[in-house]
């Protein structure tokens, strides 16, 4: 009997509708207004790669050990270096990083013994060309420069 009454008065449907209306309260708004309001990603976020430079003298931290290239599952890092006549140490010449094939697993970052290569919190890496996805040393040191939209 109660079952029939519940059916007639659409109790089950109103029960669900009540939940919907409860969530209509503006304080439950969850949407981010993306280009205007930029999300704050976590500190450990693995985004655009960056080749760190020493802030004191502006030289690269990279010691061209090639460990990142060996660790990379996709083989997308190519490091070339030259042994300097003066210091007898390897010096970095080029560093290319193909972000189009990168899956941001962080293995290169783990492998780096001097914290030179780092996956940063930048996440806007779109490019109009495929070639633009392959970053050279300069791009890696400067980081991506996404367009800032004013809304």
């Amino acid at each position: 009997m109660t079952g029939l009454l519940k059916k007639i008065f659409l109790v089950d449907l109103f029960q669900g509708l009540f939940v919907t209306f409860r969530n209509q309260n503006p304080k439950y708004i969850y949407t981010e207004q993306y280009p205007a309001e930029r999300p704050k990603v976590a500190e450990r976020y693995r985004g655009a790669p960056r080749l760190n430079i020493n802030p004191d003298n502006g030289e690269t931290l990279c010691i061209s050990c090639n460990l990142c290239a060996l660790a990379c599952p996709e083989n997308l890092i190519v490091v070339t270096s030259e042994r300097s006549e003066v210091t007898k140490r390897k010096e970095l010449i080029t560093f290319t990083y193909d972000t189009s094939r990168c899956m941001f697993c962080g293995l290169c970052e783990d492998a780096c013994p001097v914290d030179a290569l780092e996956l940063t919190q930048d996440f806007e890496m779109a490019s109009y060309t495929r070639e633009g996805q392959i970053w050279d040393r300069q791009a890696l040191e400067e980081g991506p420069k996404p367009t800032q939209y004013k809304c």
Partner: protein, 370 residues
């Protein structure tokens, strides 16, 4: 058109997919129909085949780790756990207790995230649009914890062979506690929306029945098996990663229809919260990385290790030839095996039920095709 063809009552062959929204990816189901009735089906899969097993043979053990996240991409942490456990088995090492506890917390959180995505999309398939917004809202909280812990939301690469790379961040425990506290009322809210809803019940009850014997015959595992009344969960049957320390129930139902599978998964989310609550209270102190060398080189041998992924039994069969690369890495995906039972479940049903049954199997095509 001659009348005879017009009035002909022959069967109609209908392609559903591979771009059909309710096949959850690129699954193509060829349906043989008599009016609305399904006479037979044939699944065409492989549209997302990337050759994960071949890639494994050409990568080192550590390098292959991020690839497993890309099979079942809504439950990447579970995939990673299975792979790490399999290689650890080959190496004959075990992750330290602290790593195990954190692994359990994250895996259970991932199970909740996976079930939430399932619930949202399944309800959307059936025609209930509201739950998907709420489900993804709560899933977002879980993904934020992943992002804070390991830096990625979906393809996490959270675990390493031998333990963990990342120590927990400040406030990790508190965030897990807050999530657990927030989440249980939300599950009740979903149930309020759906469980008694007459349309929901009407669409799901007695649809796609798979009995316990049929489940075993087809090798179907996970919530589908439990909904048919088999009280079997690898976390209880063959505990791994310290699951024996936690107290939780295996939810089961009797009918094995779509509605029961829904109920089982809802209850599973509550049990996952229970496990997380217990695990977070007693995370032991200590190291997070076991005794694993920099170069992972297991002795010659083979091992099959499986875990209870959100979809069912996820197994890794790894053959080592003593080198740094797996000689053969076979993944036993739960979705692939479960999908095989689709034909049995929808034969004789209506075409509208196909959508409900595919949704309730909770397949992820990335895992079916690998």
């Amino acid at each position: 058109m001659p009348d005879s063809t017009f009035l002909d009552s022959t069967e109609l062959v209908l392609n559903m997919g591979p771009q059909h929204p309710s096949t959850h990816g690129v699954l193509r189901v060829i349906l043989k129909l008599d009016g609305e009735k399904v006479l037979g089906t044939d699944c065409i899969i492989g549209y997302l085949h990337r050759g994960v097993e071949k890639i494994a043979e050409n990568r080192t053990y550590a390098q292959f780790n991020p690839y497993v996240d890309r099979m079942d991409y809504v439950a990447a942490v579970s995939n990673g756990l299975g792979y790490c456990l399999a290689v650890e088995k080959l190496l004959n090492v075990e992750a330290p207790p602290r790593a195990q506890a954190i692994r359990v917390i994250l895996t259970e959180l991932n199970r909740i995230a996976s079930h939430l995505l399932w619930l949202g999309t399944h309800a959307l398939d059936i025609g209930a649009i509201t739950p998907v917004f709420y489900c993804l809202r709560e899933r977002e909280e879980a993904l934020k914890i992943f992002e804070k812990y390991c830096g990625a939301r979906l393809t996490t690469h959270a675990f390493r062979i031998g333990g963990l790379l990342y120590e927990t961040y400040d406030g990790f425990e508190q965030e897990i506690r807050d999530f657990c506290k927030m989440f249980i009322p939300k599950v009740d809210e979903y149930e309020e929306l759906l469980t008694n809803n007459r349309i929901w019940v009407g669409r799901l009850k007695d649809v796609g029945i798979l009995s316990a014997d049929e489940c075993k015959e087809f090798g179907v595992t996970g919530p589908v098996l439990r909904a048919a009344g088999v009280k079997w969960d690898l976390r209880k049957a063959q505990p791994y990663s310290g699951y024996e320390k936690y107290d939780f129930d295996i939810p089961t139902r009797q009918n094995g229809d779509t509605y029961d599978r829904y109920m089982v998964r809802m209850e599973e989310m509550r049990q996952s919260v229970r496990i997380m609550e217990q695990a977070v209270e007693g995370i032991p102190e200590g190291p997070i990385m076991g005794k694993v060398g920099k170069v992972i080189k297991p002795a010659i041998g083979e091992a099959y290790v499986s875990i209870e992924a959100p979809k069912g039994e996820l197994g890794y069969y790894i053959v080592s030839d003593g080198s740094t690369q797996p000689y053969r890495c076979r993944v036993r995906p739960p979705s692939f095996v479960n999908l095989q039972a689709l034909d049995r479940m929808i034969r004789g049903g209506l075409i509208a039920d196909v959508v409900a049954v595919i949704g309730t199997l909770d397949i992820v095509l990335g895992e079916v095709d690998r």
